[in-house]
Amino acid sequence: MIEPIKQIVGTGVPIPGADIDTDRIIPARFMKCVTFDGLGEYAFYDVRYDNDGNITKHILNDAAYANADILVAGINFGCGSSREHAPQALVKYGFKAIIAESFAEIFFGNSTTLGLPCVIGTKDDVDALKAALQADATIEVKIDIETLTVSYADVSFAVTMPASAVEALTSGNYDPINELLAAEQEVAATLKAQAYLA
């Protein structure tokens, strides 16, 4: 049994830009690996370092945000490839949840399975949160998965997440392997019914 995930409380970092794709979250050249260990240091590598390997002015390099727990982003976060290396890199980097205006589907599913909740806020709410975090890196942000609310300072706003993801996270069932394994006989029967010929 995995621990249920009902609440995430911590500091946040606003990531500028829309359509942050998985190549940007973890550039492909760092995917030459046979385990996910050590991916954290390459998260967002190409925005954190310039072409000569120097540290950039990106907000992720700002010491004030170094230990942020919650990533706050714009629309279509995680689009592109199906690589689980992307959410794995974010988890290993230290993120515990993501708030964005929307997520690409495969990324969302991969993240949920890892226990990295992705909640969706409206543009206005997300922009306001980003502005608040920009002004003060120490603000404590709370994501409540059961009530689907995000609160910080004296602000609180509603977020959305598909019911199945809420259920999976709050029940501690987000890694479905045991449930999938348990249905072995039904699986065999469904497979037999297909009568695949190759």
Partner: protein, 469 residues
């Protein structure tokens, strides 16, 4: 009310409803490659799990293989380790593996169809977002994450929520010089890079009926660029003709049984779709991208967008960001933009028909002196066919390098990479920042014939002019 192919395949492959409300879905065919599978096998070992139906998983190596010197051990020790890991996992778990010595190796989405592994009326999963390609055969085919690769290995199923279905009709007549790649780029441009989130795309209309299987694959391949998890074309006689006699296709009496089964999955005539989009083929032009998202495309005769003309602040910001990265001048014609590299290959356009089509036009022409041009077959089978037909000679005589099969310059996991801010005319599917290996490298997506025209002219060109269509 009729059912769509998506619904029929989904229902036939549903095992049960899980406690979180998702469906436990049977995966008919599982494809794996070296990048997204080793960690899954690691998880299998950690949990002491066996591969439940090893005969339903097929492996090949594509992303990390060098296309020049394939002598093993590979020069890059990390790549060599990945290669060995896949071999070890395939051996240990009893999985069919099309390795470099097999004569069948190649980009996983090229290999599946040409071996006859990709079949209608089934679910196909692979730890790779371009798995949508296989939808061209009337399969529900989609990319999965590595933990799900583990789930498929261990149980032949995954947990998944259902999708809505959007029917996209392309009808009318494509003008000469307009290819299926242009149809794909046009659809992504019209519906946006996130327009397909939550949808399966069903492609139809006379254009898709007339398309060859390879043309259908090019469009299905780029479904994910439009945000759709999968895209498919209903199976028809072309599908069956393509599959007949292939290595893994059913044979003899089994063929007739399979045919009946496959036909039964096609969408019913009275299917009611969640959404319908109609596109006039006459509106589609040879299309090129100008930005850093696949939906940032324009007709080759058009001008690069001007942020000042954007309809809203978000569009304006994204145009500015894209043009800064691409170093392209707002409002100027895109035609004539100098290129440094030309790449023909990938799972979008690395099939035999792509090389045949380009070969028709480049004979007697020469790649511009300042351009490095590479042609990379999508699989060893394509490579062998091309050589039998003498296509490789036509390419090399025109100044292209003819390489060995692999993902090559579609992404940066092998030695084929852009350097600095080089700009590449590419027949691949993604123009993300850094996609082709240099963090500041630039990609312009287009059809293979347009890539050839750009290679010859030394800059983005209208292939219809270059080749006198």
């Amino acid at each position: 009310m009729g059912k769509s192919l998506y619904q029929k395949v989904w229902e036939a492959h549903s095992v049960k409803t899980l406690s979180d409300g998702r469906t436990q879905l049977l995966i008919g065919t599982h494809l794996i490659h070296e990048v997204t599978s080793p960690q899954a096998f690691g998880m299998m070992r950690e949990l002491n799990l066996k591969v439940r139906f090893p005969e339903r998983t097929f492996a090949t190596v594509d992303h990390i293989v060098p296309t020049e010197n394939q002598q093993q051990p590979l020069a890059d020790p990390l790549a060599d380790q990945m290669l060995n890991e896949l071999r070890k996992n395939a051996d240990e778990f009893g999985i069919t593996y099309f390795d470099l010595a097999s004569g069948k190796q190649g980009v996983v989405h090229v290999v599946g169809p040409e071996q006859g592994i990709t079949q209608p009326g089934t679910t196909i999963a692979c730890g790779d977002s371009h798995t949508a390609t296989h939808g061209a055969f009337g399969a529900i085919a989609f990319g999965i994450g590595t933990t799900q690769v583990r789930d498929v290995l261990a149980t032949q199923t995954i947990a998944m929520g259902g999708l809505k279905v959007r029917r996209i009709n392309v009808t009318g007549k494509l003008s000469p010089g307009v290819y299926s790649k242009d149809v794909a780029l046009h659809i992504v441009k019209v519906l946006g890079a996130k327009g397909g989130i939550g949808f399966a795309y069903e492609y139809g209309g006379n254009i898709f009926d007339e398309f060859t299987m390879e043309e259908r694959m090019t469009v299905c391949n780029m479904s994910i660029e439009g945000g759709a998890r999968c895209g498919y074309v209903n199976p028809d006689q072309k599908t069956f003709d393509y599959l007949k006699g292939r290595n893994y296709s059913p044979k003899g009496a089994d063929w007739d049984v399979a045919l009946e089964r496959w036909k039964s999955f096609a969408s019913d005539a009275d299917t009611v779709y969640d959404d319908v989009v109609n596109i006039d083929a006459a509106d589609i032009e040879p299309t090129v991208t100008w930005g850093i998202s696949p939906d940032q495309g324009i007709a080759v005769s058009d001008s690069i967008p001007d942020p000042e003309q954007a309809s809203n602040p978000e569009d304006k910001a994204s145009i500015i960001e894209a043009l800064e990265y691409m170093k392209l001048p707002a409002g100027q014609p895109i035609k004539g933009t100098k290129i440094d590299v030309a790449f023909i290959g990938s799972c979008t356009n690395g099939r035999i028909s792509d090389f045949r089509e380009v070969a028709k036009y480049i004979q007697g022409k020469k790649v511009a002196a300042n351009v490095k041009a590479i042609a990379v077959p999508g699989s060893q089978v394509v490579d062998i066919m091309a050589k039998q037909e003498g296509l490789d000679k036509i390419f090399t005589e025109a100044g292209f390098e003819w390489r060995a099969a692999g993902c090559s310059m579609c992404l940066a996991m092998n030695p084929d990479k852009l350097v600095g801010d080089q700009i590449c005319a590419s027949s691949s599917n993604r123009n993300f920042k850094g996609r082709q290996g240099s963090p500041i490298g630039r990609t312009v997506l287009m059809s293979p014939v347009m890539v050839a025209a750009a290679a010859i002219e030394g800059g983005i060109a209208d292939a219809r002019e270059t080749f006198n269509f």
